[in-house]
């Protein structure tokens, strides 16, 4: 794995390289600034770029934009002690530009945090819940310290391109490991007894946001995904209902997302959660990721929205089955991971009403950035 480290400060850069060596990485290039780093990246195409944001000359954000524009790497790790809100904005920029952000690490760096992020690069599709390099005791400490927060993915109406919903995806803003994201970092949470508590932290964060944006005049829905580990606490949905009442939020403003795979893995828990959510008047979104998930949808009797990967739109058999399921459950159909506005006509013809982007970040920023990105790319 070829890694490029970009930091203008010789000492901190040498410390980063030392840590990478310590965790077994040997193919490492170093650069002092963005311009030098772009030249190196063009010549060597690094698998991962680790970059500081605060650099003289070309600043970190411009460097990241250029990296993405020239398609010089796939993955990025941000080395910075900057405010989380800034890091979120940078992540949003990077993801919209097509880069995968493995995480952000603050100084002092930890070997295990860096190792986890490199592991996430090597195993991008693993959703097995394997603990990998994540220290489960560390996860439990993170939950105890209330470090689980909501970040947001915009969901757009196909016709108007307006953001109609924001899905609050969980992020672990760890004091020990930095900000961790993605299934590799978070799937182990579902195996912990404390998983419902982590989910509650994300729900609380998202509800505060939903109440605030409501006051500011935004009329969209905030969606919180719940994993099986959290749903095994049968009182969780009643707790969410009570919290919604406290925050003056109705079920139309707040929705629950379930993974289709949950119906295969533990149909009883998933069906109970679905029924409980609908009884509490929450909208329910079911995300289908694989054809196997579709098979389990025979169990689904009601839903508000069903989403499938955008690639299914070009597969008439899969798309027909999605529509069949949607018709039975009276659900609206959406697709995930769409980054190009020009695809929206095809979506419309395929009777897709919603698209979910891949932008992540502060709610207003994520939605705005994503809409702008679509207008430009379309």
């Amino acid at each position: 794995m070829h890694i490029l480290v970009v930091d203008d400060h010789d000492f901190t850069r040498s410390m980063t390289v030392r840590l990478l060596h310590d965790i077994g990485q040997t193919d490492i290039a170093e650069c002092r600034d963005g311009a030098e780093a772009l030249a190196s990246a063009r010549a060597q195409r690094p698998d991962i770029v680790l970059t500081d944001l605060n650099m003289p000359g070309m600043d970190g954000m411009t460097f990241i934009r250029q990296l993405a524009k020239q398609k010089l790497t796939d993955s990025l790790i941000i080395l910075s002690g900057l405010e989380l809100s800034v890091l979120r904005a940078v992540e949003s920029l990077a993801v919209v530009s097509g880069l995968r952000v493995l995480g952000a690490v603050a100084k002092p760096f930890r070997k295990d945090a860096l190792a986890s992020m490199l592991h996430a690069h090597s195993h991008p599709l693993s959703a097995s819940g394997s603990a990998g390099d994540i220290d489960l005791a560390g996860l439990e400490r993170g939950i105890a310290m209330e470090e689980f927060k909501a970040w947001y993915v915009p969901i757009l109406d196909v016709k108007s391109l307006r953001t109609v919903a924001l899905e609050a995806v969980p992020r672990w803003e760890s004091r020990e490991y930095g900000t961790l994201m993605g299934l590799n970092a978070l799937a182990p949470v579902n195996r912990l007894a404390a998983a419902p508590e982590a989910a509650k932290q994300v729900v609380r964060d998202a509800m505060l946001g939903a109440a605030l944006w409501r006051q500011m005049g935004w009329r969209g829905t905030v969606i919180v995904p719940l994993g099986l580990g959290a749903l095994r606490d049968e009182s969780l949905l009643d707790w969410i209902h009570a919290q919604a009442r406290i925050n003056g939020i109705s079920g139309h403003v707040f929705a629950i997302a379930l993974e289709g795979a949950a119906f295969t893995e533990d149909a009883g828990t998933a069906a109970f959660a679905l029924a409980r959510a609908l009884m509490n008047e929450f909208a329910v979104i079911v995300h289908l990721r694989t054809p196997e998930d579709l098979a389990a949808m025979n169990l689904l009797t009601a839903s508000s929205t069903i989403t499938c990967p955008a690639s299914w739109v070009s597969d008439p058999v899969l798309l027909h089955r999605v529509h069949e399921c949607a018709s039975r459950t009276r659900a609206v159909v959406g697709v995930t991971n769409v980054d190009e506005a020009r695809l929206f006509d095809a979506m419309h013809e395929a009777r897709i009403h919603l698209v979910q982007g891949t932008a992540v970040g502060e709610p207003a920023g994520a939605a705005e950035t994503y809409e702008t990105h679509l207008r430009v790319s379309g």
Binding site: D8, H9, D10, F11, T12, M15, N54, K107, P108, K111
Partner: protein
């Protein structure tokens, strides 16, 4: 200064820890000299940038109190030079104390 963060990082290897600390002291002395010059010149942009570097370097070795003084200067530089003289002197004293501590570390 608590050496445990670095010792943990180097698997309790005191020779490597010392080597890192010496590198830090050399780098930090250069940054502090730059900081003093920037203060003299009234260059708030350079003060902000150098204080940010000192903070980053200090955090890398786990010198968090020292990093906090640098952070005060980094933030203060955005407000104006008149607030900074005392902080830069405090950083100079803390940096010298840290360098003395490193020279005693074995």
């Amino acid at each position: 200064m608590d050496p445990h963060y670095l010792l943990d990082l180097t698997d309790d290897n005191r020779t490597v820890t010392k080597e890192i600390l010496v590198q830090f002291v050399q780098s930090d002395a250069a940054d502090r000299a730059g900081l003093a010059a920037a203060l003299q010149a009234g260059d708030t942009k350079a003060l902000n940038m150098l204080a940010h570097r000192i903070k980053g370097g200090a955090r890398c070795i786990g010198a968090l109190e020292y990093a906090a003084i640098a952070e005060d200067i980094e933030q203060g530089a955005l407000r104006g030079i008149e607030f900074l003289r005392g902080d830069v002197e405090a950083l100079e004293r803390a940096g010298a104390a840290l360098a003395a501590w490193v020279s005693r570390f074995h």
